[in-house]
């Protein structure tokens, strides 16, 4: 795609970096909310190219990482029941529950299948009417419309052997939780572009106002991220706090109205626990009463599971931007992507995995930060 290639143009990136360097006069800390952006930042070394006085704090925007342990344990419980076909996105397979993961269930004979789209799971249900097909619905606002459509179709086509284990999360309440934390150092947000492709930008002005924090909707290519940082820095220097859209090629202010109407029909907001963080009010979606029959938690009666987090894992602090991964004693020793202790290492979008993958320990800039800390 011709203009995607252009968004990786090093010469333009250099000019944006120069402009950012000219703009900033003081230290600022900004948080990129989305795990996809974190990976782009680390992969292209954007954090190291930036002027010293801009610090990027990695946010809680990895749905795999924040899925609570109880939900993983419920998934494992349902997946190991006879007669169940358990469908999931591939990146949930290695997320550790209290004592196993989905991969283990599969090698133990469970029918766990990886699908690319929730519609694939619906098709499996249509093709195997004698079995219960359960789809593991995780993800932010970008993913939720797809899951909502799958269950909407199931109802329309009267597919009764299909249900959802739902653990969807919403970004704005997470931003609010970050701002309310007494240790919060975040002064501006780079909002997740594709979340806003669906939701639009109308949820953000109130947040920007209440917490006096600039929020810049940002894309994922290196130039997009630099432009997001440039705009956030400009606002901070001027003492402004507005919502800006730096990703207009994929984000309309009103979002995607068709997706929003299906979302509102299928889901209602609910309080949701975030792994490592705890309960955030109104931060999740559950199936609305009209779709309650399709809720796997009711169909399989999985409540009252006892859960246990590994004591050494500090992914909660990583997710809130309070520590960097290498400050965790287990990082790279007992905890690696092959033997993950926490979700932020297991998920390909997790911050611990990004730091491990791109050897972010060996770089001068990181050593410097480490010694300052």
């Amino acid at each position: 795609m011709k203009y995607i290639d252009e968004f990786q143009d090093p010469a333009l990136a250099r000019r944006l970096l120069d402009d950012i360097a000219r703009t900033v006069t003081r230290p600022w800390a900004m948080m990129e909310v989305c795990g996809g952006q974190t990976h782009s930042i680390i992969r292209h070394g954007i954090d190291q190219l930036l002027p010293e006085n801009i610090e990027l704090i990695h946010g809680p925007g990895c749905p795999v990482c924040v899925t609570p342990l109880e939900v993983i344990d419920k998934a494992l419980e349902i997946a190991s029941r006879p007669g169940v076909v358990f469908c999931s996105f591939g990146d949930m397979l290695r997320v550790p529950g209290s004592d196993r993961d989905l991969f283990w269930i599969k090698s133990d004979g469970g029918d766990v299948r990886v699908v690319y789209s929730p519609l694939d799971a619906l098709r499996i249900a249509q093709q195997t009417p004698g079995r219960q097909v359960v789809f593991f619905g995780v993800g932010f606002e970008t993913t939720a419309p797809a899951i909502a459509m799958a269950v909407h179709q199931a109802k329309r086509l009267e597919v009764r052997n299909f249900s959802l284990l739902v653990s969807h999360v919403r970004v704005p309440p997470a931003i609010e939780a970050v701002m309310r934390s007494p240790d919060c150092r975040v002064q501006a947000f780079l909002a997740a572009g594709h979340v806003c492709s669906v939701m639009g930008t109308t949820e953000y002005p109130d947040l920007a106002d209440t917490y006096k924090v600039p929020i810049v909707v940002t894309g994922f290519e290196p130039l997009d991220i630099l432009e997001g940082i440039r705009r956030a820095a400009r606002q901070l220097e001027r003492g402004e706090h507005r919502v800006e859209n730096a990703y207009p090629r994929a984000v309309r202010p009103q979002g995607n109205p068709v997706a929003l109407s299906v979302l509102r029909e299928v889901f209602t907001t609910t309080d949701r626990a975030w792994r490592g963080i705890g309960i955030i009010a109104g931060s999740g979606w559950r199936l609305s009463d009209a779709y309650r029959d399709y809720d796997a938690e009711h169909r399989f009666d999985v409540t009252c599971l006892v859960t246990e987090e590994p004591a050494v894992c500090r992914s909660g602090e990583v997710l809130q931007g309070l520590i960097k991964p290498h400050e965790c004693a287990a990082f790279g020793t007992t905890c690696t992507p092959r033997t993950p202790l926490g979700a932020t290492m297991v998920s390909s979008e997790g911050t611990c995995a990004a730091y491990y993958l791109y050897r972010r320990l060996a770089t001068p800039r990181m050593e410097e930060t480490a010694s300052v800390d």
Binding site: M1, G139, L223
Partner: protein, 99 residues
């Protein structure tokens, strides 16, 4: 899983009462549900996530953003450090003389 990818619509058809597309992601072609973007046409770009087109990728605003970036370069010329520029010119001059 969270990543959404841009692709180009190469064909559209209806399946089970739902509009579906064939979308080309730089060589890999996949089936994509158009329920949330029914008005998209063959040849246009869309952001696709877990098998759903979630938003049209607007080429015009893409080009506008790129033009803005170019203009930042222009501002650089205008407001950049004049001493630095002069120094760069002095450095360049002897080379040119040698030719």
């Amino acid at each position: 899983m969270c990543l959404a990818v841009p692709g180009r619509v190469v064909g559209i058809e209806e399946r089970d009462g739902t509009p579906m597309a064939r979308v080309d992601f730089g060589g890999v072609v996949k089936d994509v549900c158009l329920a949330y973007l029914p008005e998209i046409q063959v040849g246009e770009y869309a952001i696709v996530h877990v098998g759903f087109a979630i938003q049209r990728l607007d080429e015009e605003s893409a080009l506008a953003t790129l033009r803005l970036f170019e203009r930042i370069g222009a501002l650089d010329e205008e407001f950049g450090d004049a001493w630095e520029r002069a120094a760069a010119e002095v450095e360049r001059a002897p080379e040119e003389e040698n030719r």
